[in-house]
Every structure is written in C-alpha cells, then in structure tokens.
C-alpha cells in the first residue's frame, strides 16, 4: 500500500457564524494528483491554507507525512510547495532573484535555479522584473519557486486561473511532467471539473465546506460515460435481443429501463432489431452526462442528466 502523504479528519473552520469548512476528511497517497473541485467560495483555498498552516483549524486533525503534532507538522511542511490563487512573487525582482529568495527561505542551494528556469521556460527573462511578466510566466515562476525546495507534495490552487487556452495546456503539461519525472504528489483545485478531469487521478468534490463526494478517475469516467438509454415495456425480451446482438455491457436499471454502454453508434441497428423482434420500444437514444452536469447534479445545480433522443 502506498504511503499516505496527507490525511485530514473532520477538519472544520468557522468564521463568525459561517462554517467555511465542515468536517472535511480526505486522504492523499503518494503519486496521486488529487483534484479538489468546488464552486467559488466552496472552501477550497481555505482548506489548502489549513494544510499549509496559514490558517488554524477549529476542529479536526491534519496528518502530513505521518506527522500530526505542531512541531512535526512544521517539519513536514518543509517537504511541501504551494501556489495559492495569484502567484506570490516579488514584483521588483527578476525571475532569478525570486528563486534566490526562495532558496534562502528554504535553506537550500541556488544550484537548481538554472535548471528550474529552463524547466519552466523562463531562461530568457534575464533582467526583466516579475511585475512585467505575463500571467502565464508568473504562474510558471511561482511553480518554479515552489520547486526550489525539492517538495514531495505540491499544493496548487487554481493554477490555470486566468490563463489563455495555450497557457492552460502548458500548465497541465508542466504538472503532469512534475508527477511523472519527479514523482511529486499533487493537490490541485479548480472550479472546473472538465479541466481537472484531464489531469487528476482522484477527485474530491467540495460544496459549502463539505466533501460531498470522493471518487477515482475510473469512477468518474463510469459516472459520466455516454450510454444508450432504452425504455421498453418488455425488458426480458429486450435483454434476449441484446444478447443475440452480442452486447454484453449493459445494465437493467428497473422494470422499464436498460442502459447500454457499448455500440453507441449503432442505436438505429439496435432499435431495428428490437422492433423486428416485436419488442415495444418507448424510447431509445444516447444519453450523456457531461462532467460539469455531473458536478452540478452533485451540488444540486442540475438534477438530471442530459438526454438526447434519436
């Protein structure tokens, strides 16, 4: 079993009468890219800040690299890197100088600076000050800064926020590269499930300060995959026909509904076979739950999946 990097148990935070975090419990194991999804104000940034020790918790427990006491957590945080919301940089300093500051903060050598500038495609910035960088460059520099101290665990809060499409792709590639090449475990947040689905291996859905669902990439794919929705008054006969057609991946939902997960392009052929066998088809069509719809359904935005009749 892989090592647990972060485990939070019933972490709660209250501001005045507002419970920003309500018994949040998650577990992140080594090698995971854990995507924390939630609408704006769901508590993502607050949760990340509690892990980094920037915000005290009112209730619950945080375990980081196996450490739970204050002193141990402080030591464990040296194995972490973070970039929360806007890139935290010294605007009057160059990329190199920003990295020098972080190297000094972490008590590490400056030898890695050139390598990181190259990795983040910032070698050409020279004497240009960080305040004159584009948002994409600043995001990359912020990540380079977090990498100065050789973190094993990276916390990135909405790293693609405000980036253009090419910047988003670039950022995604950088994160994937960090995971594959350096073995870094990542916790990243976004309010876009669609965006996270392209990178994360596990998901936690945060809503009103509560984790309402946790699932793996496979589970999410299963929950949101496309299928043929068949409504008939004769489910038994319909199942016989599906077997005759060689369809194996289907699910009888109830006495009138079957979901078929293969041969999605052959709706017409399936329909014809059913009709020829005198199965009464009330409705047949592809149904697909988009990631965002799935998210909204979970958070109470859209109650049902989108259905496309053919």
């Amino acid at each position: 079993m892989s090592e647990t990097i972060l485990k939070t148990t019933n972490v709660s935070k209250v501001y005045g009468k507002h419970k920003v975090l309500d018994k949040v419990s998650i577990e992140i194991k080594r090698g995971m890219i854990y995507g924390l999804i939630g609408e704006n104000g769901a508590g993502k940034s607050t949760f990340m800040r509690t892990i980094m020790g920037l915000i005290t918790i009112d209730e619950g427990n945080i375990e980081l690299f196996g450490e739970t006491d204050t002193k141990g957590l402080q030591q464990a945080r040296r194995k972490m890197g973070q970039s929360i919301e806007t890139p935290a940089l010294y605007p009057e300093l160059t990329a190199r100088q920003n990295l020098q500051v972080q190297a000094a903060n972490g008590g590490v050598s400056e030898r890695k600076i050139d390598e990181l500038l190259h990795l983040m495609n910032l070698s050409h910035t020279g004497k240009k000050k960080a305040k004159n960088f584009s948002l994409g460059m600043r995001q990359r520099l912020a990540i380079a800064s977090t990498l100065m101290t050789n973190p094993e665990f990276l916390i990135l809060d909405e790293p693609t926020n405000g980036l253009d499409p090419s910047g988003i792709v670039e950022m995604r590639e950088i994160i994937q590269r960090l995971v594959t090449e350096r073995g870094i475990t990542v916790l990243l947040s976004s309010h876009l499930l669609d965006e996270l689905s392209q990178i994360a291996t596990h998901y936690g859905i945060l809503h009103d300060g509560k984790i309402i669902s946790e699932l793996s990439k496979e589970e999410l794919a299963r929950e949101t995959r496309q299928y043929i929705e068949l409504e008939t008054t004769d489910v038994q006969q319909a199942v016989v026909i599906l077997d005759q057609l060689g369809i194996k991946d289907y699910e009888v939902i109830n006495g009138t509904e079957i979901n078929i997960y293969e041969q999605l392009d052959d709706v017409a052929a399936i329909n014809r076979a059913l009709v020829l066998a005198e199965v009464n088809v009330s409705r047949i069509g592809t149904s697909r739950q988009k990631l965002e719809d799935y998210f909204l359904q979970l958070t109470g935005g859209i109650p049902h999946a989108e259905s496309v009749s053919s």
């Binding site: 980094m52 915000i55 040296r78 929360i84 806007t86 100088q97 020098q100 972080q102 000094a104």
Partner: protein, 259 residues
C-alpha cells in the same frame, strides 16, 4: 532564522525603498548644514538649544534634531517592507515551508533595526563631518569626556528610535497591509509625540508623560546635563516598549490567519 535573514538581505538590497530611505537619512544632514550656513551668512547665530546641531561635536545629536523625520521615514519603510509581504502573498512562500512565525517576525524586526542603525549612523557621521567642515568641531558645553558622551548619546538616541521601530513592526504585522500600517504608524507617531505634552499639563496624567519614548526624543535636550542624567530611564522605557510591542505583535501574529 539565519536563512530568513539571508532571504531578507536579497530583498533588501534590491529594494528601491531601502535605498530611498537611506538616501533621505544621509542627505538630510547635508541639506541642514547648507541651511545653517545660509542662516549664518544672513547674520543669524546658531544656538544649540534651538538648532540642536551647531558644530561637529553636536553633530552626534542629528537623531534628536531629525527625530520626527527619522520616525516617519523608517515607519513608512517598515510599513511597505512588511505590508507588501502580506499583499503580494509572498509571506505564504516562507510560512508554508514550516518556518516559525516568531522567527519570521524577528527577521523583519532585525532588518528594520539594522536599516535604522545604518541610516542613523550614516546621518550622524555625515552630520558630524559636514558641520565640522562648515563650523569646526567645537565642543558641547559642560561635557568634559566627549567620546564617552558621544557614545552614550548615540546609543541612547538609537534605542529610543528602535523602540518606535519595534512598534511600527508590530503595527505592520497586525494590519497586514502597507497602507493601513502607514496610517496607523503615522497616527502612533503623532499621537505619542503630542499626547505626552498634553499629559504634562494635567495633574492626573503627568506621570504618564515619560512612559513614551517620543517624549524624551522630542522634548528633552541631549546636550543638557540634567537631561543626560535621564539616559538610563530612557533606555529602560525603550526596552520595555520593545519587549511589550514585540510580545503583543508575536502573540497576535502567531494566532492570526494568513489570507
């Protein structure tokens, strides 16, 4: 702590605010000596009680002469130097590495204290040199051992300044914003500069007057033997101010949430 100071050094030497602050503190005595030269040429006579610095020997009193300016300039520097860490979010980069908040607080205080020291040392040295060049070194009335007097006076004046620096650092950490820190720092300077004068006029609060370091800095004459006798009291009040403001600042900062 040493790592934090190394990081502060990198930031400091590349900070325009640092060089502007030092420039103001170092240019001030040159402007004042030029001003004094013009005054003398226009027939005026420099009087130590009024002008504070009248020759090279009294140049050691540059901190007394420019007390308010020094406090406002260093107060502004501290507000920006600390407030911007919160506003840029760069404080997160340090604290999320598991660095102690107390160490972080002290690293900022040490930097502000060092800047003040270098600034006032430069100001005093330039003041003494330029006033010596303009009016000769001369002496300080009723002072026999000048070297000992100069050392004690410089040390006491610096500690008085340092007490205020400590309060500015506390204010910056509590407000977490350079603009608010600037305003509160300014209000503190003006308030503690003028309130003691009002206290002095009342029967009930008279004894409170010298609980504030600025009362010594603004209202006493550091060339007068009676006031020189109060040096130990000044140092005590300054140390109490430093300890209290640092304790309050660290206590509240370690318990506050960083956005």
């Amino acid at each position: 702590m040493l790592n934090l100071l190394a990081a502060e050094k990198i930031k400091l030497f590349r900070s325009k605010k640092f060089w502007i602050t030092l420039s103001i503190l170092c240019l001030l005595p040159i402007m004042q000596v030029v001003n004094s030269l013009f005054a003398v040429r226009n027939g005026e006579e420099l009087v130590q009680v009024i002008d504070t610095v009248v020759n090279g020997a009294t140049g050691v009193l540059m901190m007394e002469k420019n007390g308010l300016t020094i406090l406002l300039v260093i107060g502004a520097f501290s507000s920006f130097f600390i407030g911007e860490e919160f506003q840029n979010g760069t404080i997160r980069n340090t604290l999320s590495l598991g660095r102690s908040r107390t160490h972080y607080y002290f690293s900022k205080f040490v930097i502000a204290a060092l800047l003040s020291f270098v600034g006032v040392l430069g100001m005093t040295a330039i003041g003494m040199t330029s006033f010596t060049a303009a009016f000769g070194f001369g002496g300080v009335a009723e002072i026999n051992n000048y070297f000992s007097y100069a050392l004690k006076t410089f040390g006491t004046l610096y500690v008085l300044i340092l007490a205020n620096v400590s309060v500015y650092v506390m204010i910056s950490f509590l407000t977490k914003n350079s603009s608010f820190a600037l305003i509160w720092g300014f209000l503190y300077t003006i308030g503690t500069g003028f309130l003691p004068g009002i206290f002095q006029q009342t029967a009930h609060f008279k004894q409170v007057t010298y609980w504030f370091t600025e009362s010594f800095l603004f209202y006493l004459d550091f060339a007068k033997p009676a006031d020189i006798a109060l040096y130990s009291e000044m140092v005590l009040v300054s140390l109490v101010t430093i300890v209290l403001s640092s304790a309050v600042g660290i206590f509240l900062f370690t318990r506050s949430d960083i956005k």
